[in-house]
């Protein structure tokens, strides 16, 4: 299993020196190399060898082990995608027995639909308000939890997941009370701090985006912190030791040791967060209690718009066209993310 050590050597983490790499070669697992935060470029070279070794180890079994996922994916993932692509070309009223073929009409209408573009804008605005602060908060939380002197670490780590498993409806009720205009807790606090008017968290556009982003942030910060925490725990102690020998302050250690080591994790969280952010649905729905996303559609998101077309207007063909557009947008954003990652990674290996 020589192929693991070049990967370990190639990784930018200076902690993966020969000593540690040597320890890793002792474990003859082909998946081990994959688990390391290696440089994508080098991994490409060795990928053929890796695949070969998997086959050598497990002839045929790999397919069986991966089959459950792919079968489920075919049934619940691919089949609906194919079907909805199909109905996007029809005028499809669900209970109607006949569905006239309309060609690309749905797409032409969609590109000309101001409500759709409004939903695109809202979605990105909410994404911005939810992703950036959430990222900073979860890195901060993870840094606190990483502290080896923290008491009851398991308790704190567990409690971080509570928002994530709370029912969205329960969250909506609580946040509805927090963001109530006349009797909400937040406006009450603003009152105490001398803010001279009540903010309407539903009818005003930006406040409504902030309210939705707060719900999303609250829900996902804990989960993301755990991912960051895992990444931080994987940072070799030697780096911190040498940093402290160099007399680095706590902030400097964080800025110059921890943060650079988190770059891949940040990208991962950003991509996953973006895909999730483009599909924000429950929060705007529960904020307005309606599928239109507010009286001026000020917080109508892409998926809410899709749902509205499908189930309020019963235009399944049009809704399917919206779904395809969402897919395209996600693909474009993911491509940009991927390109950025590659760039950052290649700058590192310079």
């Amino acid at each position: 299993m020589n192929n693991t050590s070049p990967v370990a050597d190639a990784s930018q983490t200076s902690g993966n020196s020969n000593g540690r790499g040597g320890r890793r070669t002792a474990a003859p697992s082909p998946w081990r190399a994959d688990a390391q935060p290696g440089a994508p470029r080098k991994r490409k070279k060795t990928s053929r060898d890796e695949a070969g070794s998997i086959r050598a180890l497990n002839p045929g079994w790999g397919y069986i082990f991966t089959a459950p996922f792919f079968i489920m994916f075919l049934i619940f993932g691919l089949a609906p995608v194919v079907y909805s692509t199909y109905i996007a070309f029809f005028n499809w009223d669900p209970l109607e027995l006949e569905h006239p073929f309309v060609g690309l009409d749905n797409f032409a209408l969609l590109l000309d639909d101001g409500q759709f573009w409004m939903a695109v804008g809202n979605t990105f605005s909410i994404w911005f308000f939810s992703t950036i602060p959430a990222m900073i908060m979860s890195i901060g939380l993870a840094a606190i939890l990483r502290n080896p002197n923290l008491r009851g670490a398991t308790f704190w780590r567990t409690i971080l997941l509570v928002p994530n498993i709370t029912s969205v409806l329960a969250i909506a009720i609580i946040f509805g009370q927090l963001f109530g205009r006349d009797f909400g807790l937040i406006n009450l606090m603003l009152d105490i701090f001398g803010f001279d008017r009540h903010i309407d968290w539903i009818t005003e556009q930006i406040p409504s985006h902030i309210a939705i982003a707060t719900m999303i942030t609250w829900r996902w910060v804990g989960y993301n912190s755990l991912i960051f925490l895992a990444a931080m725990l994987a940072i070799p102690n030697e780096l911190y030791e040498s940093a402290s020998l160099d007399g680095a302050s706590k902030w400097q250690t964080f800025r110059y040791v921890t943060l650079p080591q988190l770059r891949n994790t940040i990208t991962f969280v950003l991509i996953v967060g973006t895909i999730g952010g483009l599909q924000v649905f429950a929060e705007p729905l529960t904020l307005g209690g309606n599928f239109n996303g507010g009286d001026s559609r000020q917080f109508s998101t892409l998926t809410l718009f899709l749902y509205e077309q499908a189930f309020v207007n019963n235009k399944w063909g049009y809704a399917a066209a919206v779904g395809i557009m969402i897919t395209l947008i996600v693909l474009v954003i993911s491509a940009i993310n991927f390109w950025l990652t590659r760039r950052i990674a290649s700058e590192d290996s310079k």
């Binding site: 209970l95 009797f183 001279d196 009540h198 507010g294 009286d295």
Partner: protein, 437 residues
Amino acid sequence: MKVMRNLKRISALLLTVFVTLGLVQPAKAATPVTITIWSFGNVIEPWAITEYKKLHPEVTLQIKKGELDAHHQSLITAFLAKKTPDIAAVEVSYSGYFRSYPSYFEDLRKAPYNAGTIEKDYLDWRWDQGVGYDGTVFGLPTDVGGMQVAYRVDLFKKHGLPTDRKAVGALWPTWEKFISTGQKYNSKLTTAEKDSCKKKKICYGFIDNAGTIYNAVLNQASAKYYENNNTKDGKLIYSTNPAVKKAFDTTTKALKANIGTRINSFTSDWNVGMNNGIFATILAPAWMMDYIKQQAPKTKGKWDIADLPGGGGNLGGSQLTIPKSAKNKTAAWEFMSWYLAPAQQLTIFKKYGLFPSASSLYDDAALKNYKDPFFNNAPVGSIYTAGALQLKPIFEGKKQRAIDNIFGQALSRVAIGKQTPAAAWQQALSEIKKSVG
């Protein structure tokens, strides 16, 4: 031995697999039946479940409650998948849609249901809301959302208005008078209350939400957005029907007169406002009485009920239906015809305030003389009866829920000052044109 043990294990495992897959059915007791019911809100009251269990111990009612819109939306997908419950509730705002597709429901005129024999027990226009475009009877009417005005006696007194329900009703024979009464009420607000609203904080007002006037006015007309031309889709008349414009204009007048607070119905602010006397009136369908009792129990005795301006009103009400692909159709029919029979409707009205659609009760002394202590001992039975009898039947059109929503949004844009009434009206028309036709 080992082989035997393994065999046992395997057969036990296989059995669990088969049972979960539904291939082997566990032994049956004396023909127990489970009726699955999909509903929303308080269509099926919990009292009925315990009561029916006493009469039919072998029947279990399995009730799934959803939100109003989500419930009807999942009903559509259930029809397509042929995975329907035994009984499905259909609300009036969606009955216009489902009347276009009666083929997905059992025709209750036919045997073994023979609904024709009980038709005379029910209010005619409520019965019609469960009739398909081709004459199929797809649902039986539950309650009538007859609408009146719930008002706060203590606040009326404080603001120099009469408090007796007859005198209060006489204040507003028309909607214009209702609006001017609201202005009179608001002129007596304290300076602190007025300042609070000017500073964009809490607005105190006569009515909770002036936007609710729209539906009340519209439902007093004889037609809404559609005209019945005996086709599946009906004819769209929303842009030409003067009743729609009148309802819209009356509401914008009320909005302009600022008789309402800024609170929307069914929000957490609304519940607080109901308790704290932020507003003095609510346009209350009969089912709203129970909602007020639940949300503002401390205001007991401070409320009363007066007649609605313009005479009679309606909001809500449902039909119970049996989908074609239901499994236990006869058991379902037995339950729903029992539940909606006049005797049960009377009990439910007394317990939960759902006003009966069984018109045979309207002369019944038990209904007429029923007084509700929460509402200052108002004879709510006779008040809501009078309102329900004044209503004309309205044709419920296919996509009226969507149209209702769009006009509702237009009115809230006017309410918060984002648009002038004329601009909001125009935008609403073009949005309806786009999404409905």
